[in-house]
């Protein structure tokens, strides 16, 4: 019986470790134009960058950017809702052609997907805290529970550097509900997302007093090896900064103050 189980386990281990790569794609840009559809991965739970309207459609700053890309290519756009934990895999596996999903441009990620330069936005991570809690420095988080999202790259950082106890949920809705119920002192997320949440009246009892950490530019990504699509997107992003499209979208979706990064990039490319 034990020998049978050991054979089973070793067979399995061998099979899985041999899980290999799948064949590389030919040319995404040609594929998109011939298909007539650009499939874009966006967030569906991250207002105002990507969230659901009551009729089920996904709207927000990033879907609008995706629509602009599709217009430039002369094709239709199709959205696939993604979360941090699966967005890179979707792109790798070809489920989406383009990824515009609040993804920070880090070297680890640049090894897996091709992140387009220039970056289109920037944010750091921050903590949404109830106004009743007096926390003035990140170090005061030692040992305290914070709600976060599975797969965010800064979870490990916050746990290691500040000693906070990170409780990660699969979606923003669950994390916010857990925080409201008092299971953690605050919600660890991108500062832009927290700003977006606090625009809503029901979060008036919450604030973001701590300084944003680790401001990382956001990059949109295409699959590795897609040279022509990469060049096209690089030109598109530069054009966005030139025309100030991102600043216009910030205003459209109610962000009270333009982000420093967007303004700097607009000036740079003007």
């Amino acid at each position: 019986m034990i020998r049978r189980r050991l054979t089973l386990l070793s067979l399995l281990a061998g099979l899985m470790m041999a899980a290999g790569a799948w064949p590389a794609r030919a040319d995404a840009l040609q594929d998109i134009k011939s298909k007539g559809v650009l499939v874009v991965g966006v967030k569906a739970d991250y207002p105002p960058f990507g969230y659901r309207a009551p009729n089920g459609d996904i709207i927000g700053i990033e879907p609008d950017l995706a629509r602009d890309v599709a217009k430039r290519l002369g094709v239709k756009v199709q959205f696939v809702p993604v979360v941090a934990a699966n967005r890179m895999q979707f792109l790798e596996q070809g489920k989406i052609d383009l990824l515009i999903a609040t993804m920070s441009d880090t070297p680890d990620r640049a090894r897996v997907v091709a992140i387009v330069k220039p970056d289109y936005y920037a944010s750091g991570y921050n903590l949404m805290l109830p106004k009743s809690i007096r926390i003035t420095a990140w170090d005061q988080l030692k040992g305290k529970p914070v709600c976060a999202i599975q797969g965010a790259f800064y979870n490990k950082q916050v746990a290691e550097k500040f000693g906070a106890q990170v409780i990660a949920f699969t979606g923003v809705a669950e994390a916010l509900t857990a925080m409201k119920q008092g299971r953690c002192v605050g919600f660890l997320y991108d500062d832009t997302a927290i700003e977006g949440q606090m625009l809503r009246p029901e979060w008036s009892a919450y604030a973001m007093p701590l300084p944003s950490q680790d401001a990382q530019p956001w990059g949109l990504a295409v699959r590795m090896g897609e040279k022509s699509f990469y060049d096209f997107m690089a030109k598109t992003v530069a054009d966005w900064h030139k025309t100030g499209l991102i600043l216009k979208l910030e205003t459209k979706y109610g962000i009270p103050q333009h982000s420093k990064f967007a303004e700097e990039m607009h000036k740079k490319y003007e």
Partner: protein, 282 residues
């Protein structure tokens, strides 16, 4: 020797005796009505506890988002049908391997069955989502594998293992006299299996197979954890779209529970009835 008068003990209450029937609820509708009533009551209580305007009443919110939630539930049902179909077909083959006379076939079938029966369904789902490629190239044909199809495959695998077990159990429950009689009549092993034994097995397999389907329907909610937009993810997104109101939680999840209950309870009752009807009377 003096006789001692022993005290007389009253007989045990009827329900502990074997001849008393088990309590069976006649009206299957009452459960659903009770659950529906619970959902409506909590909705109304939440309504009463909320301040008046500008927040919409909880019942109104549920009604407004019902089309989306029902579509999500329909998606769950679709996933369950497909996973059951795949699992049954594959499980039938695997079951044949389990009862095979050839040792290597039996061993391989045993390995696969044990593996997929012992693996947690959620881990298998994650495995399929991460490991399966998006597209499969078979010559000129390229088949797309969207997320929910991977979830269907991921759910079909444990179903396959369980169907194989059910089949093995059914074949082994056939009286050995049937095999011997068939052999004495000159049937080959294959003919015995396909013409005599398996037709008798089918009736025995139906109740556990339906039970497995009910478990599978409830397992489709696992797909929400790996990112498929089923009714549970939609419930979370509805709550977020309504501003993250905590008073919506009990009604929303109660609503989802109600949907599953309305679908699964009739299946459970039908299974019970079939079990009684097909019970083997020796």
């Amino acid at each position: 020797m003096t006789a001692r008068v022993l005290p007389v003990m009253p007989p045990l209450p009827k329900v502990l005796r074997r001849d008393a029937p088990l309590p069976r609820l006649r009206l299957s509708l009452w459960h659903g009505v009770a659950l529906a009533g619970f959902v409506v009551l909590t909705a109304m209580a939440a309504d009463a506890a909320t301040e008046p305007a500008p927040r919409a009443g909880v019942l109104a919110v549920l009604v407004r988002w019902s089309p989306l939630l029902l579509r999500g539930f329909g998606f769950n049902i679709l996933i369950s049908f497909m996973a059951m179909a795949i699992g049954t077909v594959l499980g039938a083959f695997l079951g044949l391997g389990l009862v095979s006379l050839r040792r290597p076939a039996r061993a391989l079938a045993w390995v696969l069955t044990e593996f997929f029966r012992n693996a947690p369904w959620l881990v298998l789902l994650f495995f399929m989502i991460y490991m399966l490629p998006f597209r499969i190239q078979i010559g000129p044909l390229s088949i797309a594998l969207p997320d929910w199809v991977k979830a269907v495959i991921g759910l079909g695998l444990p179903v396959m293992a369980n169907v194989a077990e059910v089949m093995r159990g059914a074949v082994q429950s056939i009286h050995p006299g049937q095999w011997e009689a068939a052999e004495s009549l000159g049937f080959s092993r294959n003919q015995q299996l396909w013409q005599i034994i398996l037709p008798q097995c089918i009736k025995r397999m139906i109740p556990p197979w339906m039970n497995l389907y009910a478990i599978l329907v409830m397992g489709t909610t696992l797909a929400s954890i790996v990112g498929v937009n089923d009714v549970v993810t939609l419930a979370g997104q509805v709550q977020a779209a309504e501003g993250g109101r905590t008073d919506l939680l009990v009604p929303l999840y109660g609503y989802v529970l109600l949907l599953f209950f309305i679908y699964c309870y009739p299946i459970a009752r039908l299974t019970q009835r079939l079990e009684r009807r097909y019970a083997v009377r020796i």
